[in-house]
């Protein structure tokens, strides 16, 4: 088979799996699990084959036009360069892990068939985005991901949190997608084609008329999809979905799509200095803000969610300093260790019956109950905190190195201020990342108090996946940083001495500081009993998690934080803690700015509809009813009355005819 055929099959297989899963879900339940697991695995093999054949050489391009579609043609096009080949491997890899994990996680879930089909569809859409060489085809995958995320986040739709979160995820990402679409059109109008290669060619020849406007419009969509400030608020709430979905969305697919898109079209953004600066500011605010917020969260998955936002901030930061190699490098390593973190967190939640760090910190011996999750999560957290030699260290250092390079003004197209901003924010975030990673690790696995409940061994499908993911989390960065530049733009990804020492030092400082504070605050543990555990701890993991999410607000008074004095984050953040836990009140700001005016407008429209428009409608019904009642009164059933009326009419008509005929 040619490389093109293989590449076409990569997104097609999960799509066919999804279709078959949806069709057979009810009639043949036995096929659902193979149909869920095998297509992503096959896609993984094929994506690896494509990557081997492409080999980091010149991009594979293929295109066909199905039918003429107006002035700007839409083509089915593939554009596989080193970025696409490697990101596709990551997507297929994580999706396979998630599907395998889900067979254990949602073992008894009655909605598992549709869930698995949607995950497959989601994977297929992301692979389409990755391989597509046409912006409209890319948009199709982009939007399919949006709708799939809506369904998957709302998987536990019985809980109000899940319903609200799925709607929020959908609306917020759509809010970004509208300018994104307009930006795509503007781009294609200037380029005369939706093909990525043509667009890039146009940009290179300076044919783009309004680079700043186009870049900012595209940036809105990217911010929505990749959860960048100020459109990141949907992502922490999306934790109301099942853990495997969180892993899929946050590691490899949806949030990666935005970064990947910018990486692919980076020359468009580089054409506008303002856009690069906006990107840098966005990345800096996202990074630091999410780091602070992560430190204050109580829900273990919300910590990871804010951590995702922060790591995505690193990637956009790398893009803002014009180094897409670093961005995609971090995307790849982050995809591996963040998927691992989420899946391990799912195991922890299942074992402990709660998702609250406050409750976990009052449980002794959880690490002995779930040793797989403990060890793999330790690896992933070290990778997250960018401690050498874990993979996160290399990818993050490549970002910081690029920022430092740009801060010195050595990078073309990039303002020096952007580089400086990203560098400073990146270093601050390094401290924060290490701090919240340490806090998570300490609170989750080093609790004191009652013995952790024992629900037996975790399903093998769940634990094996953790170890599979632990390998790239551990070794990918160190193995790959020398070979990757050949796949990417050729720019070096080797850590520089200055940023390595600075970044690692700051991370160690953050970790030690948190450890010290924890030593002190943990004495308060005994004095404040706290915690709630799921009602059915023995049930399958999905159900336990749904119950844990549903009980968090009643038990602690808030979805995001718990009144726990033993929390080191509380001491570290000081007065900021309250605001950080609430995500710096961004939701409240949105509520005041958008939700309330819209609601007021809606109530006005409702008033107009009910009181004004309905009056006319009601009158239109009441008048004929009145007339009908009058006419009905005439229907006495008395034949003589009828005949009387008939003859009276006849007489009148006859007289009238005679009068007319005689001309009177």
């Amino acid at each position: 088979m040619t490389t093109t055929t293989l590449a076409v099959l990569v997104p097609l297989l999960p799509f066919l799996g999804a279709a078959a899963g949806l069709l057979l879900g009810r009639t043949a339940p036995g096929f659902v699990r193979p149909l869920a697991v095998l297509p992503p695995l096959a896609s993984l093999v094929l994506a690896a084959l494509v990557a081997v054949r492409q080999g980091g050489g010149p991009a594979v391009d293929a295109h066909t036009e199905l039918t003429p579609t107006g002035s700007v043609p839409v083509e089915l096009a593939l554009h596989i360069d080193g970025f696409a080949a490697l990101v596709a491997i990551l997507v297929a890899f994580v999706a396979s892990c998630v599907q395998i994990y889900s067979t254990g996680y949602l073992r008894d879930d009655p909605r598992y068939p549709s869930y698995a089909a949607l995950v497959s569809l989601f994977t297929s859409a992301m692979l389409l985005v990755v391989y597509s060489g046409d912006l409209i085809v890319l948009l199709v995958g982009w939007e399919v991901m949006g709708i799939c995320s809506y369904f998957l986040v709302g998987h536990y739709w019985e809980t109000p949190e899940a319903r609200a979160a799925s709607l929020k995820a959908f609306l917020v990402t759509k809010l970004g997608d509208v300018p994104f679409l307009i930006g795509l059109f503007a781009l294609a109008t200037d380029a005369g084609s939706f093909r990525v290669t043509r667009v890039l060619g146009t940009v290179a020849s300076g044919g783009l008329h309004h680079p700043t406007v186009v870049a900012l419009l595209l940036l809105a969509g990217v911010a929505g999809k990749s959860a960048q400030f100020p459109l990141h608020t949907w992502l922490p709430d999306a934790m109301a979905g099942p853990t495997p979905v969180s892993a899929l969305i946050h590691a490899a697919t949806m949030v990666a799509a935005g970064v990947y898109f910018v990486a692919r079209l980076l020359p468009v953004f580089e054409a506008s200095g303002a856009a690069m600066l906006v990107l840098a500011v966005m990345a800096a605010v996202t990074m630091t803000g999410s780091g602070l917020a992560a430190l204050a969260q109580d829900d273990i998955k919300r910590v990871l969610a804010y951590s995702t936002v922060g790591q995505l901030g690193y990637m956009t930061g790398a893009l803002a300093v014009g180094d897409r190699g670093a961005a995609v490098f971090h995307l790849l390593s982050h995809g591996a260790f963040k998927a691992l973190l989420f899946l391990a967190a799912g195991v922890v939640i299942h074992a402990a019956g709660t998702n609250s760090l406050a409750a976990l910190s009052r449980m002794r011996g959880l690490r002995d109950r779930v040793p797989d999750a403990y060890w793999t999560m330790t690896v992933a957290l070290l990778a997250l905190a960018a401690i050498p030699p874990f993979s996160g260290f290399f990818s993050k250092e490549s970002v910081l190195g690029a920022a430092e390079h740009a801060a010195g003004g050595h990078t073309a197209h990039v303002p020096g201020a952007a580089g400086l901003l990203v560098l400073v924010a990146g270093l601050v975030t390094a401290v924060l990342t290490a701090a919240y990673a340490t806090r998570l690790w300490l609170l989750a696995f080093h609790g004191r108090g009652a013995e952790a409940p024992d629900h037996g061994r975790q399903p093998l499908t769940m634990t094996v996946v953790l170890w599979v993911l632990a390998i790239p989390s551990l070794a990918f960065g160190g193995l790959a940083y020398r070979t990757l530049p050949g796949w990417f733009d050729g720019r070096t990804l080797t850590p520089t001495a200055l940023t390595s020492v600075l970044g690692t030092g700051l991370a160690v400082v953050g970790g030690l500081l948190t450890y010290g504070v924890w030593q002190r605050t943990t004495r308060n543990l005994v004095s404040t009993p706290l915690g709630a555990v799921a009602a059915h701890p023995g049930a399958d993991a999905g159900r336990v998690e749904a119950e844990a999410i549903a009980t968090h607000t009643p038990a602690y008074g808030d979805i995001a934080r718990a009144p726990d004095p033993a929390d080191p984050g509380r001491v570290l953040l000081g007065p900021l803690h309250r605001h950080a836990a609430a995500g710096f009140h961004l939701d409240a700001v949105y509520s005041a700015l958008f939700v309330r005016p819209v609601r007021a407008g809606a109530s006005l429209v409702r008033f107009l509809d009910r009181e004004v428009v309905d009056t006319y409608v009601g009158a239109a019904a009441a008048l004929p009813r009145l007339l009908g009642a009058a006419v009905r009164r005439a229907q006495t059933g008395n034949v003589q009355t009828y005949v009387s009326a008939l003859l009276a009419g006849t007489v009148v008509l006859a007289v009238a005819v005679v009068l007319v005929a005689t001309g009177a």
């Binding site: 008395n638 003589q640 009355t641 009387s644 005679v658």
Partner: protein, 210 residues
Amino acid sequence: MNPALALAAAPHGFLSPTGVEIAFLLVGLVTFGAALITVTTRQLVHAALWLVVALGGLAVEYLLLTAEFIAWVQVLIYVGSVVVLLLFGLMLTRAPIGRSPDADSGNRRAALAVALAAAVALVWVVVDAFRTTWMDLSGPAAGATHVTGASLFRYWVLPFEALSVLLLAALVGAIVLSRKAKADDRAGAGGTTAADGAPAPAPAGKDSAR
């Protein structure tokens, strides 16, 4: 122009009626009065009897119009059979003998208004149209039996035969209607015959009327 018509046009005034006209007028008054009593009397059987007077008066009017065959047919069929049928009908439906206070329905005022309006309109139109029209009754009778028979069997044979089919259908229909009612009413004694819509003999009819 027809000389008879020209002769007829001028000299005949309403103030100098001929003898035939006077007779027609008097009989007409009697007929009209009898008809009025028929539709207003409170005694149902009397209404039928006054109907006999009205129909008989009409027969006389036909004679005065020289239509002798129709006059005798009128007497035979209407006075002889239709009124008898109606009387049987009154009996079979147990019409009260003597005054019945509710002979008129509540529709009386409307009926009066419509009838008066129709009368005014018709009389006005008729008088306005035929004020001066004169018909000549002298000479051979226009409605003599010979003439009527000749025209009936020369020009109207087909409708005449069709009419016989219609009468047959009416006969069968009347029988079917009566028999159906009979079948529903098993308790009724005796067979009911209904020839040409004629009701059953009185005693049996009364029994089955329950």
